[in-house]
């Protein structure tokens, strides 16, 4: 970060600061949900595809509405209605993930991998493989507007972060998430409804992916069929860099936000420094490794 600040005069500008914040806000939203999932010792690989599908559904409904041919019926959607539908879709797909994981005892990795493929396929079907563009100024405000001197995406992701912090640290549900991830067997034997907790966590991850999808679609003024490709990886990286343990029960939202910031700054800084994209990936990987090793050393010392 320091070297980026010294060698490129574009890096340390407030313009670039907001730019980075806007760029990472999508990853922050997804990563907040991913943190909840990983705290329960799970994983959600489907966030990128759910993001794409939810964004495409919102964009499609807003632009074209729904026509039901047989009934000669047309339903149009307001910006609010379209967004709500996108979020409901995201939540439902997440709910389906959680339901499959708990009801049929399938590993989260497998279920969400299947969802990654299915939701991507659904996005292709819905868009016909072409971007949906021209969504209007009202919709564009979500991704490009400013409110009280702060960009809208930053507001939205900040609200998601604050709500998640309250959920995890102040509510019964948050305590249960840590307990399930810390020791699922002990949690079950204490009378916790493990299935309900997990289903909700995956549903929340889906909802947050949808929120990310709507921000992205609005920012680009277009729903791309291949939006969010491999976003799950940056999200998992943010969570891991932020110190949340992949074995569950330990971690925080604040850590994840820091992780997302590090990745965002890294992405932006390396671009401004003209580092080749190939090297960028290697450097990002190394940072993930270093973060995990530091966390491991820290935790072992505490024990």
């Amino acid at each position: 970060m320091y070297s980026a600040g010294c060698t490129s005069d574009k890096f340390m500008t407030s313009e670039n600061g907001w730019n980075i914040m806007q760029q990472i806000s999508v990853n922050v939203c997804i990563s907040v949900g991913m943190t909840l999932v990983i705290l329960t010792k799970g994983i959600d690989l489907s966030v990128g595809s759910i993001l794409a599908f939810s964004g495409a559904v919102a964009a499609g409904l807003l632009k074209n509405g729904i026509e039901i041919p047989g009934l000669d019926l047309y339903i149009g959607f307001t910006v609010f209605g379209a967004i709500l539908m996108g979020i409901i879709i995201g939540g439902s797909l997440g709910f389906f993930n959680g339901w499959m994981i708990t009801k049929f005892k399938v590993a989260p990795f497998v279920v969400t991998l299947a969802m990654l493929t299915m939701a991507r396929g659904a996005t292709m079907l819905w868009t016909g493989g072409f971007p949906i563009t021209g969504l209007g100024d009202h919709f564009a405000f979500i991704g490009t507007g400013w409110f009280l001197g702060i960009p809208m995406p930053v507001w939205i992701s900040a609200i998601a972060v604050i709500l998640a912090i309250i959920l995890l640290t102040k509510t019964k549900f948050g305590r249960y998430i840590y307990a399930v991830g810390g020791n699922e067997s002990a949690a079950r034997l204490s009378g916790l409804n493990i299935n309900k907790i997990k289903i909700w966590v995956y549903a929340l991850s889906g909802i947050l992916a949808a929120v990310g999808g709507i921000i992205l679609t609005s920012r680009l003024d277009s729903a791309q069929p291949n939006a969010g490709l491999s976003y799950e990886l940056d999200s998992i990286a943010a969570v891991v860099i932020g110190g949340t343990s992949l074995s569950g029960g330990r971690g925080s939202i604040i850590g994840t936000v820091q992780g997302a910031l590090i990745i965002g700054v890294l992405n932006s800084g390396l671009v401004l420094l003209n580092v080749s994209p190939f090297w960028q990936q290697i450097i990002k990987g190394l940072v993930i490794l270093i973060a995990v090793i530091l966390d491991r050393v820290n935790h072992d010392n505490k024990d």
């Binding site: 019964k172 305590r175 020791n183 949690a187 079950r188 034997l189 009378g191 916790l192």
Partner: protein
């Protein structure tokens, strides 16, 4: 039988329908208020399975009737069991009893968090007050309720599990090998504690494979062999020979 807190009638836990085999086979017994009943048996006699079946862990394969406080109850899940006033201290406390990475007070409140929450919001101050009460009553040695459970000794960890259940104000406690892996001093403390709990009116069901332990702390001893109850002795009529004979019969 007005003081009967638990009555189990013809309880069976099916292992496999195909060859008609049982993990628990047609077990009936009762437990009174203030009574400590031991369950003795060799490995594989079905003791732990009996506790698990009573606790709703195998509800799909369990048949039979369970009465708590004279009322017939349906226990289809651990949640049902807890709601009806049952508590289980499992055999392997690290694997099944504690969230080791969590603080002492969070472990103590885990099964009874509703009594300190308000509209699902936690009240950590209340939680810690509750935990401190048990730290004192059970003489749990720790630097404070904020300590992580993994840093406690085996005996103190076991007391944390017990506290978790006491916090639910249970009617019946199931203790599965409650003194396994615990030093002699802590063992004696646990024995005293079991005695105190019985004096306060709880029904306590103790599974143990240590004969001297079971003979000293229990008012009655149920002996299991091959998934069935093979004998029930009152304390004054029990002897090691009789119990062993019943266990291998």
């Amino acid at each position: 039988m007005g003081n009967e807190v638990l009555n189990v009638r013809n309880l069976s836990l099916v292992k496999s329908i195909a060859d008609n085999s049982f993990l628990v086979n047609d077990v009936s017994f009762n437990l009174r208020k203030g009574e400590v009943v031991g369950i003795f048996g060799l490995m594989g006699a079905g003791r732990t399975e009996l506790l698990e079946a009573l606790f709703g862990l195998h509800s799909k394969n369990t048949i039979g009737e369970i009465h708590v406080d004279g009322k017939k109850v349906k226990i289809n899940s651990v949640m049902d069991a807890v709601n009806h006033g049952l508590g289980l201290v499992p055999e392997d406390r690290k694997k099944d009893g504690l969230v080791l990475d969590m603080q002492v007070f969070k472990n103590i409140s885990l099964a009874s968090i509703e009594q300190t929450t308000h509209y699902n919001l936690l009240n950590v101050t209340k939680e810690r007050t509750l935990a401190d009460k048990y730290l004192g009553e059970l003489k749990i040695k720790t630097s404070g309720s904020n300590q992580k459970v993994m840093n406690l000794s085996g005996g103190n960890q076991q007391k944390v599990v017990l506290s978790k259940w006491l916090a639910t104000s249970p009617k019946v406690l199931f203790l599965d090998e409650p003194t396994r892996g615990i030093d002699v001093n802590a063992k004696n403390e646990i024995y005293h504690l079991i005695n105190d709990l019985a004096l306060k009116g709880l029904g306590v069901l103790v599974v143990s494979s240590e004969l001297p332990e079971i003979m000293s702390i229990c008012d009655r001893i149920i002996v299991m062999g091959k998934s069935r109850i093979t004998a029930i002795f009152n304390k004054d009529e029990a002897s090691e020979d009789k119990i062993m004979n019943a266990a291998i019969s």
